[in-house]
């Protein structure tokens, strides 16, 4: 197994996540899922693994929607995915066949058209497709269900808002919500590179007031479990033929240094020297050089830069909180309050609210014993370096 930061992995080379995936299949029994987390945390890999080995009783279809720019393209794609999965027999997708006739639906390119040559209405395509799938699932078995793994949903909505209008993007969201409620045999697992809340806040400026995610389970996968991250690092060190005397220890140091994020494990290992044996110390040196170099592509600076637009006048407080947690591993609310209050005036409610936002934006996480800490050790490490703490 070779390091492959950012590339596509065979499902069997996606290490770990087994417990999370089992949980997610359990959740899908009851409701759809919206998966949200930092970019490159491994959301797509989870989908790939679930798609490659579905749980018993599940039919799956997976697609990256970032390439679709209109609601009609999206609806056509949903129909095509259903065709791919269920086959083109006359019995299935009866409602869609009634709508478009026998031939049109199998066209290679272009939107689905009605027999008279006019484009089929996208909402109707989606409704009929979902109803046909529901029927097909019932016919297959009493407990059979289908799940759509839809990646890059925020990109799709943004594309539609730009190409058509924000109103159409809102309609897509509402139709999806309503279809999700109406069809118990169909579930959605949605995700994307950027948080859907960014698109929703854009749409809210155009009058959107619904909560399309409120019936969905929100899942934040987080980094890999430590043992899985170590296994991954160990496999990659072996696969890349990297020389090291203490491979197990080096794997542990790598996993720990990058906060057990699979992408960063791949990335760090891809940057390790090939011509000399690595040691725990040299791993730290490489990581230090990587994240502090002028030419680095880790984009950790993003976490500093986005404080200004995200937090506005609360930016100084956010900085103070993050600086404090960068030098102290975990802190309860009162300790953070003391640190901040020693430097500026702040009331408790404002600070509580800010800590909540820092957690939502994946800077911090609340531990089981109600302390706060950095969400990723790597960001904490970079924060200390970049701010000379």
């Amino acid at each position: 197994m070779k390091s492959n930061p950012g590339g596509q992995l065979s499902p069997h080379q996606i290490i770990g996540r087994d417990a999370l995936i089992a949980d997610m299949w359990g959740i899908l029994e009851g409701r759809s899922i919206y998966m949200n987390d930092l970019r490159r945390i491994g959301k797509t890999q989870i989908m790939v693994k679930m798609h490659a080995s579905p749980a018993t009783g599940w039919t799956t279809a997976k697609c990256d929607l970032g390439g679709f720019h209109t609601a009609a393209e999206f609806a056509t794609q949903a129909y095509r995915m259903s065709l791919d999965v269920l086959g083109t027999k006359q019995k299935v997708l009866r409602r869609m066949t009634d709508l478009i006739g026998q031939v049109k639906g199998t066209e290679i390119a272009g939107l689905i058209k009605l027999p008279d040559g006019t484009p089929a209405p996208w909402k109707e395509v989606l409704r009929r497709t979902f109803a046909d799938i529901e029927e097909a699932m019932v016919a297959l078995a009493s407990t059979q269900r289908m799940v759509f793994f839809w990646d890059e949903v925020p990109f799709l909505l943004d594309n539609i808002a730009k190409r058509e209008s924000p109103a159409v993007a809102m309609e897509v969201l509402d139709v999806l919500r309503s279809l999700g409620q109406d069809h118990d045999r169909i579930r959605l697992l949605l995700t994307g590179s950027i948080g859907l809340h960014h698109i929703l806040s854009e749409l809210k400026q155009h009058g959107y007031n619904n909560s399309p995610l409120n019936r969905m389970e929100l899942v934040q996968p987080g980094p890999l479990a430590e043992a899985d991250a170590i296994t991954l690092a160990d496999d990659l060190l072996q696969g890349d033929g990297i020389k090291c005397d203490e491979r197990a220890e080096c794997a542990r140091v790598i996993a720990d240094a990058v906060g057990c994020v699979s992408f960063y494990v791949h990335k760090l290992i891809s940057r390790l020297p090939r011509n000399s044996a690595i040691t725990p110390k040299s791993i730290q040196t490489v990581l230090h050089r990587e994240i502090t170099s002028d030419n680095n592509d880790w984009d950790l600076q993003h976490y500093r830069e986005r404080l200004t637009p995200y937090y506005g006048k609360d930016e100084p407080i956010a900085l103070e909180v993050l600086d404090s947690l960068a030098v102290t591993d975990t802190m309860p609310f009162q300790a953070i309050r003391r640190e901040v209050a020693a430097r500026m005036k702040v009331d408790d409610e404002r600070l509580r609210n800010l800590l909540g936002l820092l957690c939502r934006d994946h800077y911090l996480v609340r531990t089981e014993d109600n302390h706060y800490r950095f969400y990723l050790g790597l960001i904490r490490r970079w924060w200390r370096l970049s701010r000379s703490l």
């Binding site: 950012g6 590339g7 596509q8 065979s10 970019r39 490159r40 992408f263 030419n295 030098v327």
Partner: protein, 826 residues
């Protein structure tokens, strides 16, 4: 010339790949690894997307050509891989257009497999439909194979493609994992490095490094070998050849293309053949590119770039600001932007940052633009006067006919050599040697220093060589170098150098245990300095050697007086003053004059320019002095400062952590103490230093046993914590110390009046931890555990009879620990 293989300086794809293989340097591993990754992409479901980044001339196309060459030679791939290589200057404003470019290249390479008619068929459709048709066609013809797309100048492609189209591209690649990519870019660009962009983190990016001096030499030797120029190949292996390439390297950076160009000029015949074509190529290919890049900048940023083009060496912000007639702050701000845009790069020298162009070819291109009437390009003239000696150039000028183009270059070089300008080669070498840390000098650097000192015949060059040799513990060679410096400066009546050379030789003599000669040299140094009422710096230098000789001979009073003199003369010499104050503080402390020691060492700590290593040593000293002065707060604060120092020397850091942990145990802050010990182990592991920890093992062992026990009667926590720390001691091979601490801790256990359950829990915790170890480690804890269990049995029963379960030697130890009377003699 005719039997030389053709090496294109600007279009590596026109060069025979076998020749590229022969001259390849530095990138063997990267090349092999990249080929392996693409091979993996073709043969498995993993798809790799590689992106090589580096400025013009760094060798991107060269590398890509070799990757393709090697891939084509792998028989297993031929039926499973299809290649599409997009031209360097291709533009695509949409994913459809990119798809067309890829498909068009495929139809040219594999006309039977990818019919051109499919491409014609998409024209006339709406873009979305055309994209879908062509995509389907490509996938259908590709079948189960993988397409390897080579895309040069990916940054330009991204610049022209809107983000929505990039999303479409990415989605296509994600939905159809049949693509592997090998891309290149001049610099990292937002499209792949900004978190909000579709392709963020998608590519496995590799920055191509400039060549080091050694790699440049290898490249030049490889080219000479390819050209069958044995004489040049052999010369490049000599110390003089090394020193010349070192000077060239500092002049032109490590850009491989520059070396390829220079390799053409290493023989005069080739210089004559190539100088004009080179000028023209540089003019046509480079100037327009760099002018275009300059157009993106503001007027002031352009001025800064042009100013740097005219500087031979990196320059500080202050100098640029003066040259621009602008404020320091303004220029610093602009430089930050230029650094972010990668037009310039900063080199740290101490606390100062020196700036230079990040692409030396930009200087060459602007010189072409600024050089009128076909005057020689100054970079090449500089190259000639660095590479050749004056006599070589004079010899060439005698031999060269007046009409050849190269003559003007030699004439310009000779004119500069004969002028008042300092010798450029020596100046460059001196500059780059000055920037080196003495302790990082290798044998090649020492050879370069020897060449420089021999060629220049200047005393400071010999003194620098001597200092480096001292650092390498080569005291005899250092003495010889200083002796040369003494002879030269005596002849030149260079009083300052003479004092320095005697003082330095005294230190070298001390190193080789020639005490009486060392004393004579240090006395001579002081005499000379005093005779001519020298500057403070010279006096401080002389007194430093006196201090060293006095201290070595055990004359501590004399050494102390010398330190006072150094302090007196070094008011304006911060580094020397810190050294003297630090040493004097140590003397005061040893004499019990803690307040004076505290004062001196505080000066060192408060100096803004103090180096981390000095600071750590000074903080450690002050912590110890403050303890004597009962100033616990300062002692603790200093130790915490050491623990927070980013680059505190390992031993200072570890000692600080141990002392802090002991203080925290005394304050009943057991968790914090254990956290310090945890960090101690992490630091030692990162540092790979087992020796120090082995020596001090008893200390963390006592802290761990004591702190874990005192955390409270939480039996589960005892087991957790003991199981956490025992493997750490095992990893460092210091379980013996832990076992000893465990046994020595028995009286504390006994004094705690524990319940039987608690006694058992303590024993269980340690037994569980030992059981988790490998058998050879576990054995080390067997005796301590036996003593622990027996000791506990005694505390529970107060019956000395339980000790009889132990062998007599162990019984004896346990009786001592438990403070029981010795057994009566049999």
């Amino acid at each position: 010339m005719l039997d030389r293989p053709f090496l294109s300086r600007f279009s590596p794809q026109r060069t025979d790949p076998e020749a590229l293989e022969k001259i390849l340097v530095q990138r063997h591993d990267l090349l092999a690894e990249s080929v392996e990754r693409i091979r993996d992409s073709v043969l498995t479901d993993n798809k790799h997307h590689l992106l090589f980044i580096g400025p013009r001339g760094i060798g991107k196309t060269n590398l890509v050509s070799l990757i393709v060459h090697r891939l084509k030679k792998l028989p297993k791939l031929q039926t499973k891989m299809r290649l599409a290589w997009l031209n360097e200057d291709e533009t695509a404003t949409s994913f459809l257009k990119l798809l067309i470019l890829i498909y068009r290249d495929l139809t040219q390479r594999y006309p039977d497999e990818f019919p051109a008619a499919d491409l014609q068929r998409v024209y006339g459709h709406k873009p979305d439909q055309a994209r879908e048709l062509l995509g389907a066609s490509l996938l259908e013809h590709l079948g189960k194979r993988t397409i390897v797309v080579i895309m040069e100048n990916l940054d330009s492609l991204f610049k022209d493609m809107p983000v929505e189209e990039q999303r479409t591209w990415r989605a296509f690649v994600q939905n159809h994992p049949v693509f592997a990519t090998v891309g290149t870019a001049q610099s990292l660009f937002d499209g792949v490095s900004e978190r909000t962009e579709p392709f963020f983190g998608f590519f496995d990016t590799r920055h191509l490094d400039n060549l080091t001096v050694d790699e440049a030499i290898t490249l030049l030797r490889n080219v000479a070998k390819l050209n069958r120029d044995d004489k040049l190949e052999a010369y490049l292996a000599t110390p003089t050849g090394h020193a010349r390439v070192q000077a060239i390297h500092d002049l032109a950076g490590g850009n491989p293309r520059i070396y390829m160009v220079f390799s053409s000029f290493l023989t005069v015949e080739m210089l004559d053949d190539l100088v004009r074509p080179f000028e023209e190529t540089a003019d046509q290919q480079l100037t327009s590119y760099y002018q275009e890049r300059l157009r993106w900048l503001s007027a002031q940023q352009r001025e800064i770039v042009q100013y740097l083009c005219h500087q031979r060496f990196p320059v500080p912000v202050k100098q640029i600001a003066e040259g621009m007639f602008a404020s320091h702050q303004t220029i610093a701000n602009q430089l930050k932007i230029l650094r972010d845009y990668r037009y310039v790069r900063g080199n740290e020298r101490g606390r100062e940052v020196l700036y230079e162009l990040s692409e030396p070819l930009m200087r060459l291109a602007l010189q072409v633009k600024e050089t009128h009437d076909r005057k020689p390009l100054s970079l090449i003239v500089d190259f000639l006067r660095v590479w050749y000696d004056k006599s070589d150039i004079e010899e060439w000028l005698v031999r060269l006919p007046s009409e050849v183009a190269a003559r003007a270059y030699f004439e310009a070089a000779l004119e500069l050599i004969n002028s008042d300008e300092p010798n450029l080669r020596h100046e460059i070498l001196r500059r780059c040697l000055c920037e080196l840390n003495y302790d990082r000098c290798d044998d090649d650097t020492i050879s370069t220093m020897q060449c420089l000192a021999t060629e220049s015949g200047l005393a400071p060059d010999w003194i620098r060589l001597g200092a480096t040799l001292m650092q390498r513990r080569r005291s005899d060679d250092a003495i010889a170098a200083y002796s040369r410096a003494i002879a030269i400066s005596d002849g030149d009546s260079d009083h300052v150098c003479l004092v320095g050379a005697y003082a330095s030789r005294a230190l070298a003599l001390l190193m080789s245990d020639q005490h009486s000669r060392a004393i004579a040299d240090s006395n001579r140094s002081l005499e000379l300095a005093s005779e001519r009422s020298s500057e403070d710096q010279t006096m401080a230098t002389a007194w430093t050697s006196v201090f060293a000789t006095k201290e070595r001979s055990g004359d501590y009073s004399g050494a102390f007086d010398a330190l006072n003199k150094i302090v007196g003369y070094s008011a304006d010499l911060p580094a020397r003053r810190r050294f003297a104050l630090g040493q004097r503080a140590g003397y005061y402390a040893s004499q019990g004059k803690y307040e004076e020691a505290f004062r001196d060492v505080s000066f060192v700590i408060d100096d803004d320019e103090v180096e981390p290593e000095e600071l750590a040593a000074a903080l450690a000293l002050r912590a110890s002095v403050a303890t004597k002065l009962k100033d616990a707060a300062t002692a603790r604060s200093d130790l915490e400062k050491i623990a927070l120092l980013q680059s505190a020397p390992f031993q200072h850091l570890c000692k600080a952590l141990l002392v802090l942990a002991s203080i925290k145990v005394a304050e009943a802050k057991h968790d914090a103490a254990l956290a310090d010990i945890d960090r101690l182990f992490s630091t030692a592991r990162e540092e790979g230093d087992h020796a120090w920890l082995t020596k001090m093992a008893h200390w963390p062992a006592e802290i761990v046993v004591g702190a874990v026990f005192l955390r409270g009667m939480n039996f589960e926590l005892w087991t957790t914590e003991v199981c956490r720390f025992v493997p750490r001691f095992a990893a460092f091979g210091i379980l013996g110390a832990l076992g000893e601490a465990l046994v020595q801790h028995l009286p504390t256990l006994g004094a705690g009046h524990l319940t039987p359950k608690a006694y058992d829990a303590w024993a269980v915790a340690w037994t569980a931890a030992a059981d988790s170890l490998k058998s050879e480690d576990r054995q080390q804890l067997e005796i301590p555990l036996r003593l622990l269990r027996t000791g506990i049995a005694y505390y529970k029963t107060k019956d000395e009879g339980v000790l009889l379960s132990l062998p007599s030697e162990e019984r004896k130890i346990l009786r001592q620990v438990l403070k029981l009377d010795p057994e009566p003699a049999a």
